[in-house]
Each structure stands twice: as structure tokens, then as C-alpha cells.
Symmetry: C3
Subunit: 279 residues, 3 copies
Amino acid sequence: MIDSEQLKQHMVKAVEEIHATNPMAGSITNTVTIDFVANAQLAVGGSAAMVYLPDEGEALVAGGGAIYLNMGTLFPIYEQTIPRAAKAAHDAGKPWVLDPVGLGIGSLRTQLVNELKQYKPAIVRGNASEIIALAGLWGLEGEAADLSRVRGVDTTDTVDAARDAAVALARYTGGAVVVSGEVDLITDGMTVAKSHGGSPLMSKITGCGCSQGGVLAVYACAADPFTAAVCGTAVYNVAGTRAAAVADAPASFKVAFIDELYRATAQDIASNQLDLEEA
Amino acid sequence: MIDSEQLKQHMVKAVEEIHATNPMAGSITNTVTIDFVANAQLAVGGSAAMVYLPDEGEALVAGGGAIYLNMGTLFPIYEQTIPRAAKAAHDAGKPWVLDPVGLGIGSLRTQLVNELKQYKPAIVRGNASEIIALAGLWGLEGEAADLSRVRGVDTTDTVDAARDAAVALARYTGGAVVVSGEVDLITDGMTVAKSHGGSPLMSKITGCGCSQGGVLAVYACAADPFTAAVCGTAVYNVAGTRAAAVADAPASFKVAFIDELYRATAQDIASNQLDLEEA
Amino acid sequence: MIDSEQLKQHMVKAVEEIHATNPMAGSITNTVTIDFVANAQLAVGGSAAMVYLPDEGEALVAGGGAIYLNMGTLFPIYEQTIPRAAKAAHDAGKPWVLDPVGLGIGSLRTQLVNELKQYKPAIVRGNASEIIALAGLWGLEGEAADLSRVRGVDTTDTVDAARDAAVALARYTGGAVVVSGEVDLITDGMTVAKSHGGSPLMSKITGCGCSQGGVLAVYACAADPFTAAVCGTAVYNVAGTRAAAVADAPASFKVAFIDELYRATAQDIASNQLDLEEA
């Protein structure tokens, strides 16, 4: 299990490298929040590009430091695009981030997630219900096909209820898992970190989860999956806390939130409350 | 014809129930304003989910309280997705909301709208030209195929000119129709309500109409179509009036507008000026 | 080469006509920034409509004053939609604007751009690397297929390095070319104009380039390509400069930027610093 001071040093180093190099993390992501994903990636110091076609996804993998695959709004062509992008990243040894949003809606989503198992995402991010459903679907923990708990894009489970699923997922992938909630949980299968902060207004705007996935991919360009996952979670909690101090309604909160993603320094991110325990 | 005090009571009850239960109204909607639709639905107290594939649309119908079908930017797959979602809602006895935006652009839009007639939307929302064109296309009022009056996504007719078309549509569907304009008209075929307020800046941002359709679907989860239509129109007029009091340019107006959707109470919505007359 | 005072008069006339007539410029554009494109078009006084299907693109050409084709996020159907829209504009003698964003990512983009050459866009807008790559691809200047310099959606070249490519493109099309950068370059093949202003924050939000393409299409409804290109570039520099005076972080900057697009008068736009030289 990593030591708290050592982790902070890794975090500062990762954030500073992102600010210095502006790495490109491509995305295949949903149309609802695609603008938020790109703007959040730019705000934290990365660079963004989004595509839909299979060979274009492979080109983004080749040209970038990581790729983000978000299952929010599937198009028919995704039957090819999503697995080919994941395979390209896997074969190139580049990190990719999975957001299994809406797992349980329709058949293609389940089919794709099953196909993606072999390519082992460096980071998985989801709400508690999605993480529990994914671990079940991949046969790692819990019921094999318990998709009924996922209600649209909302969670019906608590973060603590998803702890075992998250740890099992991380041990399988060898990467990190982020469970978003009031207190966020991040694990690499050995350490469980809990990141505090944020605001209830984050659930009153669409795309905090999706855009965090894109930010995780940016950090994954410059750090190991666990450090990237902790950084990408901490910066969201820092920005959420600060935005809530100046805005009390969702649209002005969103503007303030992205501004604070941009303003957050490496020290701000590394100093945000993070509790570590053994997995 | 409903009594004014009774309608206000229905409105207060509907809005309070939405605030208490956060019902999910799924959408198949255009990519231009999809983020605005979702954020408006969240702001008024609902929950949002957007998809493109046929079985996913059916899943949203099954998992939500209502569904919103907006024809803004058609994809080829919509030839299946849109009718199957409407049929699923019809068969399940769940309300669905139709926004026939851009009627007259291309052939698929007309084909789909013709196919949707049989599934009788609980609420139709459009500008005057779209409502007149829809009533004509469905053979309910006016010329059968007078689509020339729809100029892109803008209206060339006044709200009053669409009164007969709106009443005919509502009598056919057994639901409600909203005609958006300077003064909005809402009818269930028996009563015609006119809702006042809003701001000219609402036409200087994209998506006020589209996002209102999503909000109407949220209210339809908790109220009969006419009450839902009146609530969803009134909350837009309340928020538009208030936003125009603090912002004089479109982007800051949009931020203020969504904030005011969030702040509007059941009393605010029920107290907004509404004139009732017989259809 | 045009005289500076004469150009200013053309600019004032164009902007005032847009404000008076609100012409519709349709778009086939990417999903990342589609909302920004529409809102920017509305803010400068135009009207917007976006579609994906081939006959719908043709309908927008028929119904509008110009059309904007942005290659950001290609869908499979674009293999038909994009060339048919360009051909329809060409055949109707209406101006169309090309943004070859992401040239070099995947094969369809290159195929489409090659096909578009014959339809001669009235205005091309891109960053320096995209303009150099396009001139090379069309065999007008530089290496025939030097796409490696395009890194995702970012530029690796300076505006000055793209001068010859821009002039060659403009001479081929008979229209205008805009190269976006710290100082923007606009040419019609005879005159080279340099437009000053803007802010580094414009590169910290997604879509300044894309939305400028939509605005160029609006101006092209009311002016010759060079005047339209100069107006659409100047209004972005005016709004960028003013927004940076009131906002120091990207999301609040974006709000202020769109507000300033709306506030900019014909005089503001025509008075922005513009240096003219022979091509």
C-alpha cells in the first residue's frame, strides 16, 4: 500500500507534467456531454479530439497519450469503433479509460462491455451501480448479470456497497477504478483511497461523471493509473467545493466549476483531503 | 373547460411531485441542444437519459415515466428508433412528447411524422409554422402538405394563426398542444390557455424550444398532459422573465435562465400569468 | 489589392445587412461544438439549422444563404451528405464554407476533402497545419500528402508558414482563406489581411475555430467571400479581446465571448486592427 506522502509527490509531478506538456487524450464519447468533456480536458491542461469512425479511433490512439471510451450514446458504428479503439490501445500499451454509463440499457452496450473485458482498461469510472454491474457482468464479483440495479444513468447503490466490486475490477485489470459518489472511492486493488469535497450541485448538471472520465484520460498520459485516478478525482472535488462557494444554482455552478478546474494548481490537487486504507 | 383555481392546484401538485420524486424522462433528441435538454430537465427536478438505438429507446420508455422525441437532427437509424419508441410508449400507456422541429426539411422527417400519427403524442410542442404544418400533414386542419411555410427551424406564422391547428391536434390526440411564441398558447382541445412572460433573448440562444420539450416530458411523468403542458410553459416564462432582469446578452442570459428554472417554486410557476378561454 | 477604407465600408454594409435580415446559414458540423456554432451564428445576427442526412443538407442549401461544412466528427452517412451538400451549393451558386478540421485522422476525411476540391469553397478556415495540409492534398502548394503535421486538432505550424498555402488555395477557389492563429491571416489570393486581437483563452475552450466557421457562413450570406472572411475574423478578435477584459478563466470567458459577439456593432468590427498587404 502506497504511503500518503509518496502519493502526494506523484500527484504533484503528474499535474505539473500535464500543465507543461498539454497531452492529447482522444475520446469516443456521448453527444450529451461531449462539449463538457472537451472543455474539462482543456481546463486541466490537456488537449482533446473526438471521433466516431473505427479507423479514426485508432488514429487517435496512435496520436495521443491515452483514449477515453464512454458508452453514453451508442451509434450503430460503435459496434466496430469501440472494440477497435480499445484493442489499439491495448496493443500499443497505451492507457484507456472506460465509462460504462447506462449499462443495462439495450443489448449493444452489454455486448461491447463484454468484448472490452480482454483489453483491460487502465481506469474504469462509474457510479456505484455501474461498477457493481460491470464487476458482475465480467464475472469478477457479485451476480453475473445483475443489470437491473442500473436505473437509466442514475445510481441506486452507495459507494461503500461498490467497494468489493471496485477492488475486484482493479485486481483484474491491473489498473485503477473510480466509484463516484458523495465521497469518491479510488482503488488499484491494494489501496483504497477516499476523496472528499465536491458539491450536491454536481448532480444537478449533466456530465460531471463523463467529463471526469476525459480528465482521467488526460492524467493517464502522464502518470500510472492509480495516481491519474486520484488526481482526476481530487481536481473534481477541489473545483466542486470552490464552485459551490460562489454559485448556488446549476448553470452558474457549471461555469464556476470549469473555471476552477483551470485554476487548480498541483498543490491544490495534492492537498485535497484523501484518506488511504488497505483494500 | 377547467376552472383557473383548479388548474393552479393541479400545477402546484405536479411541480411539487417532480421536486420530490425526480422522475426520469428519456429523450431521443437532436445533437445541437441535447446538453441544454438534459440540463433543463435536471434543473426543474427531473432526471435525464439520451439514446439513439431502437432497443435503447424502448428501454428508456420502460424505465422512465415519459419519453421525449425531438426530430431536430435525424440519423439513419431513427427510421427505426423513433417509431419504435413511440409505439413502446403508446403500448405501455406512457406519455410521450413530440417536437416536430424542422418539419419540411428532407423526406425522412415527413415519413416519420406520418408514422407517428397513430401513436398519439400526449403533448406536441412547436412553433406556429410547425404546428400548422403538422395539423396539415395529419389531415386534421388546413392544407394536407403545406410544408413550405416552415423555414428551417424558424416560424413564419403567428401563434394566433396556429390556434385552430393546435385545437384540432389536441382533439385528435386527446392530449395537449403547446404553440411557442411571444405569448404561448396551450390547449387540450377544450380550453385554450395563454401563458405570458419570457424574453426576446430566448430566440437569441439555441434550444429554448427543444429543452422545453424535455421539460414537458418531465412534468408529464407526474400530471395529465394539459397540466404538464401548462407547467412546462409557465416555468419557461418565469425563468425567461427573471433571467432577462439580470442579463442583457445571450450567453449570460442562458446561464441565468437555467439557474431560474432551478429556482422556480411550484407557487412561482402556478402564479405566472395565464389566461383561459374556451377552445 | 483592395483599399483599406473601401474594405471598411464593405464590412459595415455586410454586418448591418446581417443584423437587419438574420439570414440562415445551415451547417453540417461536428457534435463537440455544434451548440457553440449555433449560438455564435445567432449572436452575430444570423439564423442556424443543423442536419446529418444527404437530402436534408441539400434542403438547407436550398433554404439558406450559405452552408457550412465542418469535418470534425464524421458519421458514416457523411460519405454522401458532405459531397452532396457541397455540390448543391456549387450548382446553386451559393457560397459554402469548409473547415477541414482533423485532416489526417482516418481515411474518410481525406477522401471527402479530395472529392470537395471540385466544388470550390467560398471560404476555407483552418489552423496553419490544416491549411498547409489542405493545399498539399489538393496539389496546390507543398507536399502532396503531408498530413503528418496535423496533430489531432492542434496546429504545429505558425500562421506565417501557411501564407503561401493560403494564397494558393484562395487563387484556386476564387474565394477567401482564413488561417487562425495569434494574428489571423485572411487572403483572397490578391490581398493578405492580418487581423489582430483575441485572447490566449480562446485556445482553452473548444470550438472557437468551428464556431467561427459558422459565423463566416452567416456573413457569406450578405457579402463577397473576402469581406465575409474579414468580418468573421474581426468579430472574433473584437469579442475575444473584450471577453478577456472581464474573464480570466475559460468557462466564464466563453460566456463573455458569446455575449460580446452579440454586442459587437458594425463599427466595432470594421474598426478592429487590420493590416493589408499584397499577396
